[in-house]
Amino acid sequence: MSDALYQDTLLKLAKEAPRQGRLEPNDVSIRLDNPLCGDRVRLDLRMNGPRIAELAHEVRGCVLCQAAAGVIGLHAIGLDRAGVDALVADVDRVLAGQEPSLKALQSFGPVAGHRSRHDCVRLPFQALTEGLKEK
């Protein structure tokens, strides 16, 4: 299972994560740290009413964290709070070893067996949830 962790699709998602960088001006800018490992996510959001209009992310973290931010870069635009909650539930699903509905999350499947890495994946999604709350 360990060998599957760093699949090519995941490595590619991490490296080529869309929407890397900062977004100026923004409506919400949130920074979240993982206290255990020092990973850090910065997420800038521009809103259109209740929905995310544009975003950018900056990750100082591992490949899993970067790839998770990549999923957000690909799929979070246009979501409102309910949409983000559904996305997070999908992440929970894949980390519990189940099939996610979002195809981009499939490459995270092998992380389920590595509990110490779950927070790496979760951190960007937590930033997203908190960002929508702040708004």
Binding site: D33, P35, L36, C37, H114, R115, S116, R117
Partner: protein
């Protein structure tokens, strides 16, 4: 099967009558094996590590927290690990207590263990508080009738033992909680003597803090728990500083983690938590209705036997209502050390002394007592050996 058979120390010494579980209980092989399994197959530091052993150690450690939370019907983030009851109470005395204002009042009782007195005295002296004391009835119970008189608008905390480690009396917590609510005070319960006697729904008690030790509930020494209602814990600053309890550290500013992590500075007692988890797991597999009946039957047998001994005085309830099988007594002018020594000749392990409850000893004008504790592994033979030993002690000293 006798429950006793699960305890290697007891089976290796069939003539031992261990009646000192109130000090430290014995440990079943299930717990010993869980600890050894950790040290020989999973040992690593927890959290922060991604290698296989660190993952196994973290899973075993956090699995221990789950077992403990489940056993006490609590949320896992309300379980704070400490070195024991004493450390748990000191944590509250600092993290909760240091926010109190001069003139605020804390209420304890005359029968408290030093662990539930000295931290409040130290806090009193640090913060200029007032320490009020509920007296003890002749039966060895906290006099709750005085609550109305003692509580005021300035009462911030009531800190009482769930069960006395000397008299065995069980306090009426519902009444304490109600009184506390009426003045807006928090309630801390020292559960050290309660937890060895079966499962407990801690949140349902309505109290704010509940402290206990592993070594009295079939688990290793050096591990204990502070259960805290989440809303309370969230409002409290940390007690000790160090690794694991932080979100981020710079020299200007440190941001603390949420509870329970905020209160768990440094590498935890990993094997201790795993042992305590295994002890909870072991306990939850027992038939506590039967064990409680048996403990009370043996307590009755002991109290009946003691009633036959001339010049003997039991410190605590003579009936079986609202008590656990912790039985203390004084025998004429004989000193508890001498009595315990004679009992030891009969293979009976009892504790003699002030049991870290000097104010209670003053209350009863005694230097100390001899104490026997009934545990799930106690048997008729243990009581009989104690009574036989007492007979000799009386002939020698009384």
């Amino acid at each position: 099967m006798r429950l006793r058979d699960q305890f290697p120390l007891l089976t290796s010494d069939p003539k031992l009558h261990y009646l000192d579980s109130g000090a430290s209980s014995q440990m079943p092989s299930a717990v010993i094996e869980a600890v050894t399994r950790f040290e020989t197959t999973q040992r690593a530091n927890v959290h922060r590590g991604v290698h296989r052993l660190a993952e196994a150690a973290t899973a075993a450690y956090e699995g221990g927290r789950d077992e403990i939370a489940q056993f006490f019907s609590a949320r896992r983030d309300e379980i704070v690990f400490t070195a024991g009851t004493t450390a748990a109470i000191n944590l509250v005395a600092h993290s909760f207590g240091d926010a109190l204002a001069p003139g605020d009042e804390i209420v304890v009782s005359e029968l408290e263990h030093h662990s539930n007195i000295v931290p409040w005295q130290m806090l009193r002296d640090r913060r200029g508080l007032v320490l009020k004391v509920l007296q003890v009835t002749d039966e060895g119970r906290i006099d709750l009738a005085a609550l109305d008189r003692v509580l005021t608008k300035k009462t911030r905390l009531i800190a009482l033992a769930h069960c006395s480690n000397v008299t065995g009396a069980v306090v009426d917590l519902a009444r304490v909680v109600e009184a506390a609510k009426s003045v807006g005070a928090a309630v801390l319960v020292d559960g050290a003597q309660r937890v060895p006697h079966g499962p407990l729904d801690i949140p349902a008690l309505g109290v704010d803090f509940y402290a206990f030790s592993g070594h009295k509930m079939y688990a290793p020494h050096g591990i204990g728990v502070l259960w805290g209602r989440h809303s309370r814990l969230e409002a409290m600053p940390p007690f000790m500083g160090g690794g694991d309890m932080i979100r981020s550290v710079t020299f200007e500013k440190t941001i603390y983690a949420p509870p329970p992590t905020r209160f768990e500075a440094g590498t935890p007692n990993v094997s201790g938590v795993i042992g305590l988890g295994a002890a909870c797991h072991w306990m939850s597999g027992l038939d506590w209705t039967r064990i409680a009946q048996e403990e009370m039957r043996l307590t009755g047998r002991l109290l009946d036997g003691l009633a036959q001994v001339p010049d003997l005085r039991v410190l605590g309830p003579l009936g079986l209502q609202q008590r656990i099988g912790v039985v203390s007594f004084a025998l004429g002018q004989a000193h508890p050390h001498d009595i315990a020594q004679i009992l030891d000749r009969h293979g009976v392990a009892c504790r003699g002394g002030h049991h870290c409850a000097q104010p209670l000893m003053e209350r009863f004008d005694l230097p100390g007592t001899t104490r026997a504790t009934i545990a799930p592994y106690s048997e008729d033979g243990d009581i009989d050996a104690l009574l036989t030993g007492l007979d000799e002690a009386r002939r020698l000293f009384a």
